[in-house]
Amino acid sequence: MRFLWRDRLARFVQTIVCVSCCLTGSLAASSSMKFDDLADLSLEELMSIDISTVTEKAQNALSRASASYTISREDIEHSGRRTIPEILRMAPGVHVGRVDNNKWTVSLRGFNGRFSNNYLVLLDGRTMYSRSIPGINWQQIDTIIEDIEKIDVIRGPGASLWGSNAVNGVINIMTRSARETHGLQLALSSGSATNNETQFRYGMKLGNSTHLRLYGKHTEHDAFEDINGQSAHDENRRTLLGFRSDRQPDDKSSLTISGEYTQSHPDDLFASVNFETLELQVAPTKNKIDTFHLRTHWTKRLNDKNQVGLQIYYDREERDTTLLVLERDTIDIDLKQHLSLGKTHSWVWGFGYRFSQDDLSNTNLLTAVPNDLNVKVAQAFVQDQIQVTPNLSALLGVKVEDNSFSDIEIQPSLKFSLTLGKAHLTWLSVAKAVRTPTRVGTQVRIDIPSLLLEPGSELNVFPLPLLAELAGNSTLESEELIAYELGHQWQLSENFNIDLAIFYNDYSKLNGTEFSDLLCQPGNVLFANDPACLGSARYLETPLLFNNSVSGHTLGGELVIDKQMTARLSSEFNISYIKYELASTSIGFLNELADVRNPELLTNLKINYRVDERWSLDFWLRHVGKVEGFAALGPGFDSYTALDLRAAMQVNPFLQLEIVGANLTDSGHLEGASELGEVESQPIPRSLRATIKLLF
């Protein structure tokens, strides 16, 4: 079986390679800039030209016309934060809750949770979304923070371009080209209640047009203190080693090869059900996660109007944790072409194939049937950008995807953008996106610690303890979203921008659960057949079968006001709002979960002040609204206001010192919880951290 797919894969690759070679061979036109044209530009205009050879097409109104937010390298530096989920707190529409020292819940436009699964995360073109385990594992999304070029946070469906599961948005993290990271950089960072971190990066030039960087990082997170002042047993040790090389033999082509190995030991205070005492027991547990990947990305600009890109990567994950014991290999191939036809049409099309082979072992909490699974996703997309009039453009796109868990998915999108003068841009879009079922939804049973219900409690009318078990349902279908968005961007001046987006997301077939057969345990006696079994049983068990019973809508918006006051002083304010209206047609647990896991309002205020050539001061205040509780999940979280302050000093060109105080306003607040209740939420403490960076 394995040989069969490999043969097929090999043939597929050969086809792609041949297609690419043909395309490469048939071109002749040159796409160079003319020097005379350049000499006519002003100095400022010259400084704004993108000199990269084969990056995406030139910025135009349409490409700005979306609810997207870019976190630049400068933003990351000014945030003083050293993990990606912490940095994402600044983005509008993104709710980040920290569960403990090594776990986060991150969501876009609602549906927050540790296993959030309705948006995509890409790190240098590799998807971090797993269809084996549900969703995104933020513990593993890390790199050298200084080498991140930017993070694009795109709110709203991106499925017509990025594929299934880009339902509520896409977070696209890109690292810097090796040509921009020459030299040796060392960073040491240490702080209270956070971590000790040591990292190096060495970048060099190999020959005329090849650049290489090698990097490594080791972090040691100490455990937080729980509410009683005891160790929360959530230590994390993590080591990362990687390289990236960029070759650019001429203006028209580029080749990137990168690879990385990581090993992490994120420990937990894990809650599980003791079947002897029928009590919830909480015990420290040790985990280990190894990952490895190798990626190549090649682009070629055939002429001004024709550009091809090919990406291939291999990814391996070995996970030995209390909840999941998993081995997974993934290989992914993507080909993309940009084509401009005439003055009005600009096409992008592409296709790709991903093959994943996973082996999910049974644990005390989880049973998978089957344990081994091959997951295949084949997809193709096409997108046409039409310049209707000089002010009005339209974007039509569709993605067709065939995957192992659902039928063929067709995900179209339509967008219009209208510019009014130089200062105003209005856009309107309608798009469909789906979230395909995963192994957990279809083939896995998990005991949910949070659903051990005592007799007489609100949700348990029986005289015995009731234990619920999440049960996969092989007939589960994809969740669907039709999203309607409206946005307006107003550039009041060069340094003053306002960006507003409003959305109405209409969801159907969202995952819910329903009670299935109630069983008297031990003995597996069906309660419906023999109600008298209650007398002899010790507890009751009910599988909670996944279904598609939840539907409804969310309504909300985000406003970003960005002002550069002077060359040295800049500020940004953003506010996000969301309101849910969801209902389930079945009776089960967790069906109203989405309502209660997000605050209605999120607010950020950031001020960055460059005092002089040496000193830089940063202020970051954020307010997170109250998160309602839900009976089975315990109480929610109070609203909180957090303040971060940072002072950095560039002592000389080679040495930078930084001090960051985070969460300065309170001594500890709860802000995130796992929806399964398998790990305890810990108070997030105030912290102080110092970092030394050396660059030679």
Binding site: M47, I312, D329
Partner: protein
């Protein structure tokens, strides 16, 4: 530890490399070099040379003949700045005794250390796109940031060479300070607009 899938990956990598190296290397000037050359041309109008440095009615731009930028600069040869003609000279000091008003060296040339260390005559503007050129005492350092060409200026180095840089150029640059003992120089530079 890893399964044979590994081998497939290596084969694919080789396939990609083959495609790449099949492509004939291009000898033409890169866009980046053209943009950098255009920026050098544009920023010359913000520089004024001391009287004694001007020996003829030309601004001599000295670039090593083997420097990949040489052909990019041929596009500005003969153009006028401050009513003076730019003349591209193909040898930089210290090899040559030609009077240079500007010396340029690129990251692909190994001359920049020599240029910084050489006892430069007054009135010679040094420009490069090597790493840390301004920090090491060079005057104008072209750098690529977010795929865009920016420049760093070391005003003290320029001042020591008695060059005057217009403040509107300084406002577009990242300033690099290597000599803080001489604070008056910065003040005088800023005042000169």
């Amino acid at each position: 530890m890893f399964r044979p899938l590994h081998a497939t990956v290596i084969n694919l990598t080789i396939a990609v490399l083959l495609i790449l190296f099949n492509t004939p290397a291009s000898a033409e000037v890169k866009n980046e070099q053209k943009v950098k050359a255009a920026i050098v041309y544009k920023l010359l109008r913000y520089i004024s040379w001391p009287e004694e440095a001007v020996v003829s009615n030309t601004i001599n731009l000295c670039v090593d003949q083997n420097d990949p930028f040489y052909s990019a600069f041929s596009n500005i040869n003969g153009r006028l700045v401050h009513k003076r003609k730019i003349v591209l000279m193909h040898q930089p000091p210290p090899k040559s005794t030609i009077e240079c008003q500007i010396v340029f060296t690129s990251e692909d040339s190994r001359l920049d250390a020599l240029i910084i260390n050489a006892e430069m005559k007054k009135g010679v503007l040094t420009i490069s796109d090597t790493m840390q050129f301004a920090e090491r005492g060079g005057m104008i350092n072209l750098v690529v940031k977010n795929n865009r060409v920016r420049f760093k200026i070391n005003p003290h180095a320029a001042y020591r060479s008695e060059l005057r840089i217009n403040s509107s150029l300084l406002s577009l640059a990242d300033l690099v300070e290597t000599d803080r003992s001489d604070d008056n120089s910065a003040a005088s530079l800023h005042a000169d607009s």
